[in-house]
Symmetry: C2
């Protein structure tokens, strides 16, 4: 069996927990990691509290191959992630020349002063490698197996471009979906459960959906098979097609959706 490589995502910020901001970084990171053969196994949303960040990073970095944090690396007083990650690794942290060499020309070219707040963004833990920020210059960093990235989605996506080459992935988890429009989960629960029992080496999921179209509600079920073995998944896909057809529904296969 091919190797499984796992990751945890830590979303840092009071604004996500208060409902002020809708997180989208978890989905972006998961979709980025899937084809690299890295599986996100857990995610935590935590507040801007030093001790909480330190402890969460420390637990996650020993439990998973990779950890991704987003949020808390800007110039203001509530941006405390870099210091907390340094503390989790028991490293010192200070303004670093390599980070300042990126920030200084960026602000000078814009006629903005590098003040105390902006200097904060050059605080990088000792031994960390910088992550390039093509959007707004202030870098993220990698320390051990932890990638520390910005919270703003566009900046975070920019930083991911400098992450892939540092990842040693495992076998890719393939996922295929069979869509059964007009089906309810209750219609297919029994044969799906029997299939899951008969093929324990494949993971099966069932995801009901509904949406308003004009005045009618459309609904259906997406059945998903996941495996690292392409042969197993092909066979599983056929079995899912049979389950949907047995209900008198024409199955649709959407190769783009995982």
């Amino acid at each position: 069996m091919a190797q499984t490589v796992t990751a945890a995502v830590i979303i840092i910020g009071d604004e996500i927990l208060s409902g002020r901001t809708q997180d989208s970084n978890l989905k972006t990171i998961a979709e980025f990691l899937n084809p690299l053969g890295v599986e996100v196994r857990e995610a935590r949303v935590i507040p801007d509290v030093h001790e909480t960040i330190v402890k969460t990073v420390d637990v996650m970095r020993t439990r998973h191959d990779y950890v991704f944090t987003t949020g808390g690396i800007g110039p203001t007083h509530d941006d405390i992630t870099a210091d907390a990650v340094a503390a989790a690794f028991e490293r010192t942290i200070d303004v670093r020349a390599d980070a300042l060499a990126i920030l200084r020309p960026w602000y000078e070219a814009r006629g903005q002063e590098i003040n105390e707040g902006r200097m904060r963004m050059a605080r990088i833990p000792a031994g960390a490698e910088l992550i390039h920020n093509p959007v707004s210059a202030a870098p993220g960093f990698m320390l051990g197996n932890v990638f520390v990235m910005a919270g703003i989605p566009s900046v975070m996506r920019g930083m991911l471009q400098d992450v892939g080459h540092r990842i040693k992935g495992g076998a890719v988890l393939h996922a295929h979906t069979v869509r059964g429009a007009g089906l309810r989960e209750g219609d297919i629960a029994e044969p799906l459960g029997a299939l899951a029992k008969a093929r324990p080496e494949v993971s099966f999921g069932s995801y009901p959906w509904m949406r308003l179209k004009g005045k009618t509600t459309e609904y259906g079920v997406n059945l998903v098979a996941r495996s690292r073995d392409p042969d197993l998944i092909a066979a599983a896909l056929l079995a899912l097609v049979e389950i949907v057809e047995a209900q008198g529904v024409k199955p649709e296969i959407d190769p783009k959706k995982d």
Copy 2:
């Protein structure tokens, strides 16, 4: 000082961790709880794994006043939340007459059989109170301080209507935003940090934003003050207005945004 009541949210489902589905339930629950005086302090996204659900529920229910789970209470084999919550509380679980009395007429009215899968949705832990589901009948439940709800956002929102009256909240955390268009966080980091240090009883946050409008990128900073004391927050709001004005920018106050 008024009492602080806290909550944790547990989002259960492989489909969130894989990036297949964008969670929106955390934001909905947080916005629902804020005016009740309940503060979401942490959230975890976990896979459909029995032991993980049991352990996470157990840790969260002792750490917080309330716990909200979403996902995993449907009719299929991967819907294992009810059994896991029962295990966390060391309760028995079986098909319950009160739940079946809701499901049976619902399916009969639609000419659908109550098969084995649908019977699963009547499995409720001993001692739990049902949560009404106005959308698709199958109930959620409350056991101790844990509210177990559906993962589909529309169903989850329906269930929340039967949750509020069971919550004993604390003092409401008020939050007000001052918006500074055209400002960068680095412009206001120093005075904001000084303000946060001078008023430790108020929590200050800084949230940069940017968006494309036509061919230009608009950007700015939202400065947020949070407190349980309305008088403190009024004073803090004035101080934030001064910080924005000192940059030559006209502050906007959006009372609807927290």
